[in-house]
Structures are given as structure tokens and as C-alpha cells.
Amino acid sequence: MADQELDPQTQAELRQFIEVENSKARFQSMVHNFTDMCWDKCMTSVGNKLDSKQEQCLVNCVERFLDTSYFVVNRLDELKRRA
């Protein structure tokens, strides 16, 4: 709305600030979702620290979920190209 009153450089800085904050918010929101999902998958009990099996499970849970997501997107693209 008030964009016309801002000089081009300030506008560009503002736009970049918003973009960076948005991507931070998206990142944190993904981390919340992953931790929620992977906690249920990996943490059936809690001790005095995360044991190495739980740590490995949490990392693999995130990695394999992202693999699944890429696999699904790539396969959909392929199916669309062949159709």
C-alpha cells in the first residue's frame, strides 16, 4: 500500500527481510512436524539421554521422509511426461 513512498533500495531490503523470515518460519514449522512424527516412531521410552539407536532413528526418520517426498514428486513428474 505505502510502497510508493519507499525508495527502491528500502523496498528491496524489506522484501528480502520478509523472504528470510518466511523461510525461517517454514523451516521451524517443518522441524516441529518432523520431531512430532519421528518422536512417535523412535521414542517408545525415555532415559537420561538419547541413546545412539534413538539418535540414528530420528535422523533416518527425517532423511527417509524427505527421500519419500522427493521420490513421490519425481515419479509424479515422470507419470505426467509419459501420459
Partner: protein, 73 residues
Amino acid sequence: NVRGQLAVANAQELLQKITEKSYKMCVTRPGQALDAGERQCIAKAMDRYMEAWNLVSRAYATRLQRDSRGMQQ
């Protein structure tokens, strides 16, 4: 473009559900990489989820039509 935005939102929602359901069904113990069996399972789960979506969509549309005819009588 309202229509385009709606289609994109719909596709994104479908994509997210497919990923979640395939992962839940096929990757029960996440290892160092997706193995061949997991990939095959994900491919099948994707296809079946889209079939299920289409079937549910037709069933719901048919039901809505039937109910609205019932109300007009």
C-alpha cells in the same frame, strides 16, 4: 486467478497426503537409505492413493446428487 490457486492448493494437499500415507505404510523402520522394497511399496501406495481419491470423489458426488434428488421429491 482463483481457479488456478484452488487447483494448486488441491494438488499440494494431495501430494502431502500421498507422501505421509506412503511413508507411514512403507517405511516402518527408516534405515540408511530407501531400499528397493520400500521404493516399490511407495510407488504402489501412490498409485492406490490416487485411485482411492478418485473413487471417494465419485462416491461422494453420487451421494450428494442422490440426496439432493431425495430432497426435491
